[in-house]
């Protein structure tokens, strides 16, 4: 059995979803209530591979909301993730993907030190961040989009924004080793990490964001910024491909200009309908088939009986592991989401 630990985008989103599902107590309540709300297993999922194999899973709503972090409710946020993981384990779920903020909170607040949750010792091997599959899919999306929009990678500049993150660094490794990219532009905040990455890759140009963007034919955005920054859309190249690797996928709405092609990064589409309800609440274009690649990773691991934390920790994703998960992704009927 596989599991997905997810959460909603904001308090207002959560209230709307709760109302649509008929959970009045949750719909009517404010952030303080959500800080106390326990995780719930709210959906049963059946996925059929194109091989004919069928697996079952569960969606665990952690009741975490991003506002918990922005309002300083860090303890509540950490509790949500640990309690959701404990619930997944209690349900006997063999491999669970930590979606959205879940894995970031686990890693950044070092929750590994708190593995005892009430009467449960968390078994980390039961959980995966799903980042390997996400990184693989983002790379595939970049390559396909270049073909689609007539950009020759061997003459193109690719900027990876957030290059030193878990996914960013994996994307850089893939681009370095598997693609004949003309110029790889590395953008991140931490200069030391950037230099280490550049050293490991044996290539790449370290640039500040504002210098990298106008030079890039492809922008792979898997990062955060500490403050709002003005982006001059007119200064971006034409054509220019933007892979939106964050969550929620909202760059397509904001970055609109002829010749600018924004793709929802790290999203996959399954060849067959998935039997589930929760996806209709997560604002994806085709809820029966589209999902986050990190979620799909737990399905792939379940299909293969690989009940192990395939993606865990920071900067451990190798090109070989990306290829491995990529092959499984194709085998079972997933493909990267691309514009129509």
């Amino acid at each position: 059995m596989f599991g997905l630990i997810g959460h909603l985008t904001s308090l207002s989103h959560a209230q709307k979803v709760a109302e649509r599902l008929g959970f009045k107590e949750y719909a009517d309540n404010d952030l303080e209530f959500w800080c106390m709300a326990p995780p719930q297993v709210v959906d049963e999922i059946t996925v059929t591979s194109i091989t004919g194999q069928q697996i079952k899973g569960h969606y665990v709503e952690s009741c975490f909301l991003p506002e918990m972090l922005s309002s300083g409710k860090v303890k509540a946020a950490c509790r949500k993730i640990l309690n959701a993981m404990a619930l997944a384990q209690k349900w006997g779920i063999d491999i669970t993907a930590l979606g959205g903020f879940s894995s970031i909170i686990f890693e950044n607040f070092r929750l590994e030190a708190l593995k005892r949750v009430r009467d449960i010792d968390l078994e980390i091997r039961r959980f995966t961040t799903g980042n390997t599959h996400t990184a693989y899919i983002i790379c595939q999306q970049a390559v396909s989009a270049c073909k689609h929009y007539g950009i020759n990678l061997s003459q193109a500049a690719v900027a990876v924004i957030g290059a030193t993150g878990d996914i960013g660094s994996a994307v850089c490794r893939w681009l370095s080793q598997r693609c004949d990219v003309s110029k790889l532009l590395l953008v991140a905040r931490d200069q030391e990490r950037l230099q280490n990455l550049q050293g490991d890759l044996g290539q790449g140009t370290i640039l500040p964001l504002e210098a990298a963007l106008p030079q890039a034919d492809v922008i792979i955005w898997v990062a955060s910024l500490s403050q709002g920054i003005p982006v001059d859309l007119a200064a971006l190249r034409d054509p220019c491909i933007v892979i939106d690797g964050g969550y929620p996928k909202n760059m397509a709405n904001l970055m609109q200009r002829p010749g600018l092609h924004v793709i929802d990064g790290g999203m996959v589409e399954h060849a067959l309908d998935i039997d589930w309800n929760i996806m209709q609440f997560l604002n994806v274009a085709n809820p029966a088939r589209q999902l986050f690649a990190c979620f799909a990773e737990s399905m792939l691991l379940e299909f293969e009986g690989l009940h192990t934390n395939f993606s865990w920790g920071r900067n451990h994703i190798t090109v070989a592991k990306m290829e491995e998960i990529g092959a499984l992704s194709r085998k079972h009927g997933f493909r990267p989401v691309m514009p129509a």
Binding site: D28, N108, D190, G245
Partner: protein
């Protein structure tokens, strides 16, 4: 020109953790809120792993402890009395119920020792008053032979409340009390299980009764918790965490008994908003 505020929520988190009063969650309509995959954006200024430094000998701590410890002792007394009363009402399970009562008495003695260890006199009159309403409801139900309500009050509400409070207390307890509480909480799970099984075996006939007992008595639990809000904080416990832990234990129990997830979410949150 468009302003991209990528990952505004996490960005602001950095500010808020540093105590930056200017940081707040973005309300602008065109801002982008981004969650990066694997971003190091969160500043590690605070972690739940850090043990809180509590002065167990301070007068503030011991003052709060006098009430909380008394509640715990009285809770165990109530539990023991309730199980003995249930043993009279359910002869088939009398032996098992008397065994549970004996365990609760043992717990009570353990918690009395915790008070002695900190040289604290438990405020028993406060604790008696604290439990009065719930106590009366149990007695009324027992007198009327309403076993469902009796089991909901004792085996679900009191046991889950105890489990939640003990779980949250253990990491911040003084070493002596921690050891005792760790032993107690294991027993309380067993007690919860007894009530769950009893109600589960009769689910169709007791379902409506459980809902009724829940509607009457769960709001009392929230009210009781509110009364000791400040004391709980002085002991280093987090009220939100207690409520969440309670809802987890109580929700699991309701689910085992036979309620659907939808029912569990409704029942376990009942009255919380008004509290």
């Amino acid at each position: 020109m468009v302003t991209l505020e990528m990952l505004a929520s996490l960005a602001n988190l950095g500010g808020s953790l540093r105590g930056d009063p200017k940081s707040s969650y973005p309300t602008g309509s065109t801002r982008l809120h981004k969650i990066p995959h694997g971003s190091p954006m969160i500043t590690l200024q605070e972690t739940t792993a850090a043990p809180q430094s509590l002065d167990y000998q301070s007068s503030a701590y011991r003052d709060a402890y006098a009430r909380i410890n008394a509640i715990v002792i009285e809770g165990e007394v109530e539990a023991s009395d309730n199980y003995l009363r249930l043993a009279e009402l359910v002869p088939d399970a009398a032996e098992e119920l008397r065994k549970l009562a004996r365990m609760e008495q043992k717990h009570m003695k353990g918690f009395q020792a915790c008070a002695k260890n900190l040289n604290v006199e438990p405020d028993m009159p406060f604790a008696k008053a604290f439990f009065q309403e719930l106590h009366n409801n149990f007695q009324r139900a027992a007198a009327a032979g309403d076993l469902t309500t009796c089991f909901v009050i004792q085996s679900l509400l009191i046991e889950c409340f105890a489990i939640a409070a003990y779980n949250i207390y253990i990491p911040v307890a003084d070493p002596f009390a921690r050891k005792i509480t760790e032993g107690v909480v294991k027993d309380e799970y067993l007690h919860l299980n007894f009530g769950e099984m009893w109600l589960q075996q009769r689910f169709p006939e007791v379902k409506a009764g459980i809902e009724q007992a829940n509607a009457t008595n769960l709001p009392l639990i929230w009210k009781m918790l509110n009364q000791v809000d400040k004391d709980v904080e002085v002991l280093g416990m987090d009220r939100e965490a207690i409520v969440e832990d309670f809802m987890i234990a109580y929700g699991e129990a309701l689910s085992k008994i036979g309620f659907s997830t939808r029912d569990v979410m409704r029942l376990s949150a009942q009255g919380l908003r008004a509290a």
